[in-house]
């Protein structure tokens, strides 16, 4: 039985998948153009207007490449690994509210009251794809790349979790809808500015910094892109992947990036709310579309910073990465949580 509600739900769900996956090709072209601009070049600008069709050409090229599986590789796991990288971040996007509600329809695929926890647990599964992909290739460099990737992901997941915890403490909820709703009381109610409590401002700023750094490491982005390393590891865990399987790894990385940006937006930057543009009580079509626009703009700004950072900073060595993660960021994030707890207690518990 298809009722109107089910139909709306379906549309919202498809749109969610569309946003998560649809931003990927846009990001690939943005990445390449911005990289070129920073290096005083033009970048790919031949396919379509301003090179906008370049992702399509890339996709067609990936599609027609030879599908190669190394001898003595584990065929089943070699096949599954790219999906294990691609699918979890796409599922994690389901609980992100990417807009205010239109009528009675909330612009969020699944409204879970443990949304943030769900997202974290789903994201923690993505490690398997990297590790398995490296192992199944029957190539020692792939294996080492996979090991590096998984060690890095586990290490920075702690900082990530603690930084997310700060936002949860400010909102006093793990429900994404509530977290966003609490940040719709003016720009100072954003969690990055302390969630309405100015004494918690340093916690918010430190929190977003830690969350973003951990997100860079989680997505294997520069300056933490150690799993891929020409000199030591050839191509890392996807050395032995070609054609669409490689494209899956590649897209998985970008979907994870989009997902992380959406998480940062939702937890710290007020989600779809921007004072003067969106009104939380406005459930009309125009308000809904504006809120989606605001959310996308924020997400895109964060994605842009990803790219910007990539072409600015030199990369870490692996021991430096581990030092930073365990000796630098982890104590800092623990201290941040403690500080927020102290501030919360002495200002009456409710910020």
């Amino acid at each position: 039985m298809v009722t109107k509600d089910v139909l709306y739900k379906l549309v919202v769900f498809l749109a969610t998948v569309g946003i998560a996956v649809g931003l990927v090709p846009i990001m690939t072209i943005v990445e390449r153009r911005v990289a070129a601009f920073i290096q005083n070049r033009w970048g790919p600008n031949r396919v379509g207007p301003w090179g906008l069709l370049q992702p399509v050409a890339d996709g067609i090229k990936a599609f027609f490449k030879e599908e190669f599986v190394p001898a003595r590789a584990d065929r089943l796991l070699h096949f599954i690994a790219p999906m294990l990288v691609f699918v979890p971040p796409a599922i994690g996007f389901a609980v992100i509210p990417w807009g205010n509600q239109i009528g009675s329809v909330k612009l969020q695929a699944v409204n879970l009251n443990i949304g943030v926890l769900f997202m974290m647990s789903v994201l923690s599964i993505a490690v398997y794809g990297l590790a398995i992909g490296g192992w199944a290739s029957n190539n020692k460099w792939s294996l080492l790349g996979g090991l590096r990737a998984s060690a890095q992901l586990i290490s920075y997941e702690l900082t990530l979790g603690l930084a997310i915890l700060v936002a949860i403490m400010m909102a006093e909820s793990v429900d994404p809808q509530v977290i966003v709703a609490k940040q719709t009381r003016g720009i100072l109610s954003w969690n990055v500015f302390g969630g309405g409590n100015l004494l918690a401002l340093p916690c918010g700023l430190l929190g977003i910094l830690l969350l973003y750094t951990a997100a860079l490491a989680e997505n294997n982005r520069l300056p933490f892109d150690l799993p891929e390393c020409e000199q030591e590891l050839v191509g890392g865990y996807h050395t032995e992947y070609s054609s669409m399987k490689f494209a899956m790894f590649f897209m998985g990385e970008y979907v994870a990036m989009v997902n992380m940006s959406a998480i940062v937006t939702m937890l710290y930057l007020g989600g779809w709310y921007f004072p003067g543009i969106t009104n939380p009580a406005d459930h009309s079509w125009l308000g809904g579309i504006l809120s989606v626009g605001v959310f996308m703009a924020k997400t895109f700004a964060i994605l842009f910073v990803y790219v910007w950072i990539r072409w600015t900073f030199p990369r870490f060595k692996y021991n430096q990465l581990m030092n930073l993660g365990w000796k630098g960021l982890l104590p800092l994030s623990l201290a941040n949580v403690a500080l927020l707890a102290v501030v919360g207690v002495f200002t009456g518990g409710k910020p």
Binding site: M120, V127, S150
Partner: protein, 165 residues
């Protein structure tokens, strides 16, 4: 009939069998992951969403990854895996396990004191707030004791791993 529970039970049983049956330890670890995911769904079905999320986050996302890590670092070859036991030994052990399960399950099923219906859970049962309140009010002392236990375990690891301090 609860079909979700049935499906999860089936998946977890098959996955558990694969954990034991598989010659390749990497496959075992992956089957264990499948098993854990099925558990998480059962927790969700029982109205314990926090427990489900933590189960995936801690067991699947962290502990099992470490297992996989060690397995991949060792990367055992076929000849290093050791010889398999003959079939009759395996059969006998399996039979013993089934009997053991029966020995526990049959008396439990016959127990009249266990035949009651649970009262419906409170609003928000199994959510973050309820679990947190229970852990930090009602069970605060055991919770803190567990954390002491974990500290002791960590210290033990450090002493074992690092002989020269």
């Amino acid at each position: 009939m609860d079909y979700v529970f049935l499906a999860c039970a089936l998946v977890s049983c098959v996955a558990s069998l694969m954990v034991v049956r598989s010659r390749n330890p990497v496959y075992s670890a992956l089957a264990l992951m499948l098993c854990f995911l099925a558990f998480a769904v059962v927790f969700l079905r029982l109205g314990a969403p926090f427990l489900a999320a933590m189960h995936v986050l801690v067991y699947t996302g962290a502990i099992l990854v470490l297992f996989l890590f060690v397995i991949m670092l060792l990367n055992l070859k076929e000849e290093e895996l050791g010889r398999e036991h003959p079939d009759w030994v395996k059969g006998a052990l399996a039979l013993l396990c089934v009997l053991l399960f029966g020995a526990i399950a049959v008396p439990l099923a016959r127990e009249p004191r266990l035949r009651f219906r649970l009262p419906p859970p409170d609003e928000g049962f199994g959510g973050v707030e309820h679990v947190g309140r229970a852990l930090f009010h009602q069970y605060a002392l055991p919770f803190e004791l567990v954390s002491v236990l974990i500290v002791v375990a960590i210290l033990g690891c450090v002493v074992l791993a690092k002989r020269k301090l």
